[in-house]
């Protein structure tokens, strides 16, 4: 049988088609020509990549156009562009993660984690650079501030957000109030973080005199950003609780509020908890509202109701923009990147916890 039929069948199906290795051939050629063109204007990884990508797009499209025709060529061009878009989007992610790891790891030490910047002056930094001793001072005060402020923001936003979502799903009748809340919660999601900070600063400035800056003001600013996220995620979760559960409870004569607290919320608790965790992850990295509401401190401050506070993001910001020692910026830069690494680890951990919560406490119904 017929190698003849086999050969004919192959040819009839693959006639006018490029073999699958053609793409790799074109890619290899594009890399070679790209290297050549790049060395004409000054060789670097960037110019090599740019020229290779350009040559590959032109070459692959042209080859397809010649062999398979125009429509196929457009199709393959679109395919390459879409794959390229994904690769381009990966570049900044990899670059950011690599930069933070590379520059942050040397700065992470026991001292960095458990000492504050109190008493660390330009002279101290100059001395540590001159003598080659380890960089003094750390981020303990900022970690304390971050945790305190985020905790208070969570304590404010979760009850409000949760109750508002319950109102929207369980009590809302689709009237003007429900629609207004839904609409403005959506709009609130888009409030610039710095405007939230200005709002809290203006509010407490009017109440307690201008220039009131404490951790609590920052917590209020963060809860303005956090409430809409909590409402949205809780609302989505309450909506997918099957109606039969509610009806079964009502049929047993259970009150509506008991139904909600004992049946509806426990069913949706995994989704609610993971939504709250994601909301925390979102606000823990906020810088701008802290900058205008909590000021900046270099000493440890456990009291959110008095005195300025520092958080990890503001520590990063100030250490980069106004280094402790203007002549020797290296210790400050090192501290900033170490703090960035710490912050990213916290955010990633929160995201991971959210996914775990969602998976572990997922309702056991098979619906």
């Amino acid at each position: 049988m017929t190698s003849a039929t086999l050969a004919r069948r192959q040819s009839s199906l693959t006639k006018g088609k490029l073999p699958s290795y053609a793409v790799w051939l074109v890619l290899g050629a594009a890399l070679v020509f790209g290297a050549a063109a790049a060395s004409l204007v000054g060789f670097s990884a960037v110019s090599w990549g740019l020229f290779s990508a350009l040559f590959f797009l032109l070459g692959a499209t042209a080859v397809t156009a010649v062999v398979e025709g125009g429509r196929k060529a457009t199709d393959s061009l679109a395919t390459y562009l879409v794959y390229g878009a994904f690769l381009v989007a990966l570049l900044p992610l990899l670059s950011v993660l690599w930069t933070v790891l590379e520059r942050g790891l040397p700065g992470i030490s026991y001292d960095f984690l458990f000492t504050s910047l109190n008493g660390v002056t330009g002279a101290v930094d100059n001395a540590s650079v001159a003598n080659g001793t380890p960089v003094l001072g750390g981020a303990y005060h900022a970690v304390v501030g971050t945790l305190q402020i985020t905790l208070w923001a969570t304590a404010i936003s979760v009850p409000i957000g949760l109750l508002a979502a319950v109102y929207l799903v369980e009590y809302g009748t689709g009237g003007p109030l429900t629609r207004a809340i839904t609409f403005f919660v959506d709009v609130m999601t888009g409030i610039p973080s710095i405007v939230a900070g200005l709002f809290a600063a203006a509010l407490f400035g009017l109440l307690f005199g201008p220039g009131t800056r404490t951790g609590f003001v920052a917590a209020v600013a963060l809860s303005v950003l956090m409430i809409p996220v909590v409402v949205r995620s809780t609302e989505e979760m309450l909506k997918i609780v099957p109606n039969e559960l509610r009806e079964a409870a009502y049929a047993l004569g259970v009150r509506k509020w008991r139904t909600i607290t004992k049946v509806v919320i426990p069913t949706a608790i995994s989704g609610i908890a993971s939504g709250v965790t994601l909301a925390i992850a979102r606000v823990i990295g906020e810088t701008a509202p802290i900058l205008v509401t909590a000021g900046f401190a270099s000493a440890i401050n456990w009291n959110v109701f008095s005195g300025w506070m520092s958080t990890l993001p503001t520590l990063i910001y100030y250490q980069i923009l106004t280094p402790t020692s203007p002549t020797n910026t290296d210790p400050s830069t090192q501290r900033a990147w170490a703090a960035a690494l710490l912050l990213i680890l916290m955010v990633m951990l929160l995201n991971l916890v959210a996914r775990l919560i969602a998976r572990m406490f997922a309702p056991k119904t098979s619906r």
Binding site: Y83, A89, S95, Y171, L198, Y317
Partner: protein, 310 residues
């Protein structure tokens, strides 16, 4: 006797019901009150600017002259971000929804979502320390060869901390928003439309152009608008990356400023009239982003009834 117990329990249950529904209603109204008071408090604190002597405002020529350049700067930065991030975001969303192997698609989605998890100050630090020096080389080349175009007019910034760099960093930050929203819409495209197009002999790209993109157009527009809202209000990346200054047409020289960065850079030392000025600037920013977001939400709700399988 039995009637009394019945009425008693009913009374207790009723009050519980009332308290609970009252609490939820109060929480809902509190949210409206917060948004309203954001506007009111900013307005109250910004009022001194309206009555102040124009010569006392920063720049010495009144508030309009002060705010105009930074409004333009804000819009330009956001426009650059959107110009880069929208096509890229659509491409990435298409890759995840229609091109990537099914098995890995969800994983790729998580990877892109990671971009949204990185705090903005880290992007700012990255733009300041890594991206700007890299781009500075390209800017020098642009100023030399394309300097006759106003936006590439020299002298190019030596540090690379320019409007274009800030726009690129903003593009990276809004990319996950545009991607995740577009991806959701692309996945909602009716399967029958796609299969019909493929059955007629369309290539994958033709199928996407005929079935997916027309279906998703309102979704893409609103995703871009939401990205725009984020880019307009983003503070830290611009404050760290841009070495600000007066308004200028060139995107590769230092200069220009955005509202959010102006507030962040000056607020810690501000008092008196300067404080009111910055709060008024914040109010302007609030109004701009509010308008953008409301238009985006309006587009989404208007097309809600058309999404899904029909």
């Amino acid at each position: 006797m039995s009637t009394t117990t019945l009425t008693e329990t009913r009374g207790a249950g009723q009050s519980g019901d009332k308290i609970f529904s009252g609490a939820t209603l109060a929480a809902g109204c509190l949210i409206l009150a917060v948004l309203f008071s954001v506007a009111v408090f900013l307005l109250v604190q910004a009022l001194p600017v309206a009555s102040a002597d124009p010569a006392e405002i920063t720049g010495g020529a009144g508030f309009t002259t002060y705010i105009f350049p930074i409004v333009i700067g804000t819009i330009v930065a956001a426009a650059i971000a959107l110009l880069i991030a929208t096509p890229l975001g659509i491409g990435v969303a298409l890759f995840i929804s229609h091109y990537a192997p099914r098995r890995f698609a969800q994983g790729f989605g998580y990877v892109i979502d990671l971009l949204a998890a990185i705090p903005s100050v880290v992007y700012g630090a990255w733009g300041y320390a890594v991206l700007a020096p890299e781009l500075a080389k390209g800017y020098a080349w642009l100023a030399e060869n394309l300097g006759w175009i106003p936006i590439f007019e020299g002298p190019a910034s030596q540090t690379g901390r320019t409007m274009l760099t800030a726009g690129i960093v903003l593009a990276v930050m809004v990319l996950p928003i545009i991607t995740s929203l577009s991806r959701e819409i692309f996945l909602q495209t009716p399967n029958l439309h796609e299969e019909a197009a493929l059955a007629m002999g369309a290539t994958r790209w033709e199928m996407i152009r005929m079935a997916v993109l027309p279906f998703a157009r309102p979704g893409i527009i609103s995703a871009a608008m939401l990205g725009l809202g984020r880019a307009l209000g983003e503070t830290m990346a611009v404050a760290l990356v841009l070495s600000g200054g007066a308004l200028s047409a060139s995107l590769i020289a230092s200069g220009n400023q955005t509202i959010a960065a102006e507030i962040a850079l000056n607020f810690p030392e501000a008092f008196g009239l300067r404080l009111s000025e910055l709060i008024a600037a914040g109010l302007v920013l609030f109004v701009i982003t509010l308008a953008v977001n409301m238009v985006a939400r309006w587009i989404i709700t208007r097309h809600k009834e058309f999404s899904g399988a029909n």
